[in-house]
Amino acid sequence: MAKFEYAPAPESRAVVNIRPSYGLFIGGEFVESTGDSTFKTISPSSEEVLAEITEAGEADIDLAVRAARRAFDGPWGRLSGAERGKYLFRIARILQERAREFAVLETLDNGKPIKESRDVDIPLAAAHFFYHAGWADKLEHAGLSGGSGQPPRPIGVVGQVIPWNFPLLMLSWKIAPALAAGNTVVLKPSKTTPLTALLFAEVCQQADLPAGVVNIITGTGRTGAHLIRHPGVDKIAFTGSTEVGKDIARSIAGTRKRATLELGGKAANIVFDDAAIDQAVEGIVNGIFFNQGHVCCAGSRLLVQENVADDVIMRLKRRLQTLRLGDPMDKNTDVGAINSAAQLARIREMTSVGEAEGATRWSAPCALPERGFWFAPTIFTGVSQAHRIAQEEIFGPVLSVLTFRTPQEAVAKANNTPYGLSAGIWTEKGSRILWMADQLRAGVVWANTFNRFDPTSPFGGYKESGYGREGGRHGLEGYVTTGATR
């Protein structure tokens, strides 16, 4: 099938105003670092330098944690839930007002297609604040006391470290419930995508949020490690790799610090022979090629029933040939840039391993731009369970295809990883969906859909995909204490 030709339809970047350099947002204002370490954030689609960013050091982190503590002990802690909620409503509204600006900035800094930042990331981020705003004065109705009779109370200062795949959305998943429950936060965005978090700091100023309630410190993994180990941090919320998650769990062992960890995944997307195949193919594409596969819950393993495998793979390849890869700012682009040179190297390494281990590689034929970091949508067939590409998270647009004959075999294969974040089921048989959903050891199960997110819907993993939930009533639980056990 020939690709329709479209004229370029670039979104204007005039709506954003990127400063040449940024300080740290501590105590309600942008301040210079006590050190002089900086790094540059670039646009992964062009390698253009966007801004110079401060690498916060230990002294900066200390200032930020103290600012958060002062706010917790002071104005924020004294505020009623109803008034606290109004600040969150304000933030939600300002995010909606400035949605286009955030979308453009996100796409520039992250490399994801503008249609995704515009239609998914930013609207969902605003929705998270709106949803949690309403909880602020209703926490005693959230069923979190567990019979202890104690109303839920905030934990204190929360240290939050987020990844680069959904920068503003992950910020909202972290900050909205923390603030709704009455905590204050110090948040560190990823090194490669700090700009929307820094713009969010301006939103906090516009909302007149009390100083120190939200502090944004930029930096590298080292900055994050310092924040997590700071003794003034009462609770850690982290989204990122399982490796770092384990390190965090070790670092708080023997203390009373709490953590919620949203880590890696290797989700199985399971297609039965009675599925609506064209819909399933769309779901497979959405599952692994959405956001260039930079999704912890991506459907990176396709388990397809043997008797329809050839048909599904044929249709999948045909569909992948119609995906538009290129300028993320173009409104017709389906697949944007890989977020960083380091991530591109990781994807290349894993795909080389896949080939070396004997799986068959097929990549969509598409011209890759000369500058920037790009990887064509790729599928591996003939993958066995022992292959590294069937076990390890690649975090890129790479799909490993395995086959199965019976539902039991599909379950066994789907559960055969240390992860347990998400899974997909495609079948027209209702009873089979429900049986499969029971059997799959995963925190989110999408049946006849994939990669759906909502602020009311708890998200998080089993096993080595971490613990704790984000979203819904369950997500609040990680941000309150009821006095029963600390």
């Binding site: 019979g147 202890s148 023997g254 925190g443 909502d454 998080g460 096993k463 029963a484």
Partner: protein, 314 residues
Amino acid sequence: MSPTATRRKAAEPNAGADQRIEVLKTYKLYIGGAFPRSESGRTYEIHAAGRSGKFLANAAMGSRKDARDAVVAARGAFGKWASATAYNRGQVLYRVAELMEGRRAQFSAEVAAAEGLTPARADKVVSQSIDRWVWYAGWSDKLAQVLGGVNPVAGPYFNISGPEPTGVVAALAPQRSSLLGLVSVLAPIIVSGNTTVVLTSEHRPLPAVTLAEVLATSDVPAGVINLITGRTAEVAPWLASHQDVNAIDLAGAADADGLSWADLERAAAENLKRVLRPAGNDADAVEPDWSRTPDLTRMKAYLETKTVWHPKGR
């Protein structure tokens, strides 16, 4: 008659020619529904609490291998127990209470000896232990409604969240409260469908072994509960670092000889076990008052939330 009471009688010097020598019990491990000795061949002496410090029995000194065998048994039992109906699991827990009631005298005597309690006080502890099973039994078919629910997502999707058991849970039973503490740790683990390997109180393990005998003749399937007696500090690290254990309850770290719960939590991070820390502040570990009515905390510690989405359409 209770073993301790009869033993005292047997030792009386002026017993007549019709004196009967009591048949003493061998206290063993409980793994996969069977009562093996420790594969290590080791035992250790158990003495009564208080000033008498009287010898009560030799208990099996469980080893790393015993613990690993117990994890295999617990993993094997998990699928079926987790998928049993909530109604069924509730009845199974309630049945344990029924059977304990029938052996109340034996439990009372053992708890009195283990904890140095008066008979009246020990009897009360046994009553509370039985009632604790009943309390948790009733939760089996209520947890999903209390902890789960329908999520009103912004789109044409049916979206529901509910609790599921996390898997195999290792537990360090409380050191002081040999029966009530044990039941208070054990029941919330299994009521939701988890299976467990429990290290009993190190110095007060005998009521736990008697509980195992109740479990073996109850309807609790083999392997759902496995009990290891022995040195807590020796065996706990193997469970904390075991890659097929999903969660660990550190209640028994309080007053355990030579044990650092920080080390156990650190080892547990290797496969991201869910950790229920001991009560207390900072690095302390204190044994709570088990007579207080529980809340949902211990059950929630071993539950995962699963969310399922499906589109709506005509």
